[in-house]
C-alpha cells in the first residue's frame, strides 16, 4: 500500500484487466445461450453471429400445446415457496428451542451433528429412500412429497443459519420480556422474529434458490403433472431430436428468478453463503 503511485496505478489497471477478463468468461455462456434462444435452428446450426432475432422459441416453450413449461414454472414456484416457508418455521422454532431453552447439551449436539452428516451425502442416496417410502403412501408424484423432501434437504442449512442469528439475540431482551409476563409464543413472535429477520431473509432466499434449482430428487419424485423446471429442462436433452433453440429459451426463462433475487437480495445471498465460513 506504500508503493510508489506509478507502479500501483499500473498494478491496479492490471488487476482490473484480469477481473474484466474473468467477468467476460463468466458472462459469455449466458450471452451465447441468450443469443441462441432468439435464433432459428438453422441460424444456430450455421453459427451466424449476426442474425434476425425471432421469438418463436419462447412462443413454443410458453404457448405450444405440447409444452408444459408454464405448468413446470408454476410447480417450481409452488414447491419453492411452500418448502421455504416450512423450512423457515421449523428451523427458527428449533433454533430457539435448542439455543435458548436449556436442553441437555447432547440434544443440541446430536441434532446439529446429524444435520451436518446428512448435509454431506448426495441427495440421490435419499431420493431412493424417499421414493420407496412415499410410493406406498401415494406421495410420489405429489406436491406434498416434493415439498417435504426440499424442506428436509434445506433444514440443515436453515437450522445452522438460524442458530447463529438466534444466539446473537441478547439474553437481557428475553429476560425483560419474561419479566413482563410474555410466554414462549409471544417472545418468539415479538422479540425473536423481528431480531432474526435478516437471518430469515438470508436463509429464505437460499432455501428458495436451492429448491428452485434442485434436480435429482425432483426427477425421481415427480411425473408430468408435478415436474419442476429443472426436470423439464432435463427432458429436453433426452429427446431424440433435441430442439436446441427451445432448450436455450427454456434455460433463459429458468434463470429469471435467480437474476431477480441476485439484484434485489444480493446482500442476503452473500451473507447466507459466507455464513459459517468466516467467523
Amino acid at each position: 500500500m506504500s508503493r510508489s503511485a506509478g507502479s500501483s496505478r499500473a498494478a491496479l489497471v492490471l488487476r482490473h484487466l484480469l477481473l474484466v477478463l474473468a467477468a467476460i468468461i463468466v458472462l459469455f455462456p449466458f450471452l451465447w445461450i441468450g443469443a441462441a434462444a432468439f435464433k432459428t435452428q438453422i441460424s444456430l446450426l450455421m453459427g451466424q453471429i449476426l442474425f434476425q432475432p425471432v421469438l418463436m422459441n419462447f412462443e413454443a416453450v410458453l404457448t405450444a400445446r405440447s409444452s408444459d413449461y408454464v405448468r413446470n414454472f408454476a410447480n417450481s414456484l409452488t414447491v419453492g415457496l411452500l418448502s421455504t416457508a416450512l423450512v423457515l418455521v421449523v428451523a427458527t422454532l428449533a433454533a430457539y428451542s435448542l439455543n435458548r431453552m436449556r436442553w441437555p447439551r447432547w440434544v443440541g449436539h446430536s441434532m446439529l451433528g446429524w444435520a451436518v452428516v446428512f448435509h454431506m451425502v448426495p441427495p440421490i442416496t435419499l431420493a431412493g429412500a424417499w421414493y420407496s417410502m412415499f410410493r406406498p403412501l401415494g406421495l410420489d408424484n405429489s406436491y406434498l412429497g416434493l415439498v417435504l423432501a426440499h424442506t428436509t434437504l434445506n433444514l440443515p442449512m436453515a437450522l445452522w443459519m438460524m442458530s447463529v442469528f438466534v444466539n446473537d439475540v441478547p439474553e437481557e431482551l428475553l429476560e425483560a420480556a419474561r419479566i413482563d409476563g410474555a410466554r414462549t409464543p409471544r417472545i418468539l413472535w415479538s422479540v425473536i422474529v423481528p431480531l432474526v429477520a435478516p437471518g430469515l431473509a438470508a436463509a429464505g432466499v437460499l432455501a428458495f434458490i436451492f429448491s428452485w434449482n434442485e434436480f435429482a430428487v425432483a426427477l425421481t419424485l415427480t411425473q408430468r403433472e408435478t415436474a419442476t423446471v429443472p426436470v423439464a429442462i432435463g427432458k429436453y436433452a433426452q429427446e431424440n431430436t433435441i430442439a436446441y433453440t427451445e432448450m436455450a429459451a427454456a434455460a433463459m426463462l429458468s434463470i429469471v428468478p435467480a437474476v431477480v433475487l441476485l439484484l434485489v437480495a444480493q446482500r442476503f445471498i452473500v451473507r447466507g453463503l459466507t455464513n459459517g465460513a468466516v467467523k
Partner: protein, 310 residues
Amino acid sequence: MASETSMAPDSAAVPVRAAPPGERGWRALTLAPALVVFIGLTLLPMLNLLALSFHDVAWAERTATWSFVGLAHFRALPGDSLFRAGIVNTLVFAIVAVLLQMVLGFGLALLTSAVVRGKVVYRTIFLLPILIPGIVIGAIWKLMYSFDFGVINTITGLFGFGPQDWLGQGHLALASVIVVDVWHWTPFCFLLLLAGLESLPQDAYEAAAIDGANGWQRLVHITLPLMIPTLVVTFVFRMILAFKVFDEIYLLTGGGPGTATEVISFSIYRRFFTEDRAGYGSAMSIVTFFGIALLIILITSFLRRRETGR
C-alpha cells in the same frame, strides 16, 4: 430430567430464572417439528433403505413385494464395474475440479479485495453461476460443446485447432465436465475467500508496510497463514458439493461415453431408478452414504489437525 437441573450451574453467569410451568411443554413443542422432519424424513427412510438393501423388490401398483437376499447385494458391489468407475471418476472429478477452483477463486479474491471501484459489480457478476440450476448449466454447456455448432469449437478453431467432440470422446469427456464445474463453482470459492480476506485484521499489514515488506512477502507471510482456516472451510464445503455432482453429468454426458464420466450419484440413479433395482440401488446408497460421510470427516479432521499443528 436430572441432567436438566445439572445444566443450571453451567450457565450461572446468566441470571437463572425458574422455568414457569408450561415452559417445558413449549420447549418440547418448538423442537418437535424439526424432530419430526429428522426422524420421519431422514432416519426412517435411511432405516428403510438399510432394510431394502437386504432384499429384492418388485413393485405392483403401490405395493412392493420384498424377498430376502441377505448380503448378496453388498457382495455384488465390488464387482460392479459401473460402481467402481463411479467411485474413481467421482474422486478424480472432485479433487481436480476443487483444487482448480480453489486456486482460481483465491486469485480472483486477491485481485478483487484490492480494488475499491467496481467491487460490487464484479461480485454480482461472479455470483451468477452459483445461483442458477445445475441442470441449466449443463444445458448451456452442452450447446456450447456441440460438435456441429458449438462455440467452443469456433473458439479453438480461431487458434488453429480442429473441431473436437468434447463430450463424446473418452479421453476428453471427464476433462470437459471438469471445465464446466470449474466455471460453475470457482465463483463460490471466490465469494467465501473474498469474505475471509475482508475480515483479516489490518494491523499486521500496517506493521509489514512499516518493515518494508513487498507484496509477495505480505501474501506469503501474512495473508496465507491468516487465511488457512477460511481456505480449509472453503475446501471442505466444495468437496462436499463435488461429491454430490449429478445434474451437470446427467445433462452433459449421461455418464458416457462408456463409463468415462460415470459418477457415484449417477450410478445409484441408474441402478435404483432406471433399472428399477431398488434393493441393489439401496445397498449402493448405503455404502456411498457412509463412505462419503467418513471421507469428509477424515478430510476435515486431518486439515484441522494440520491447522492447529502450525
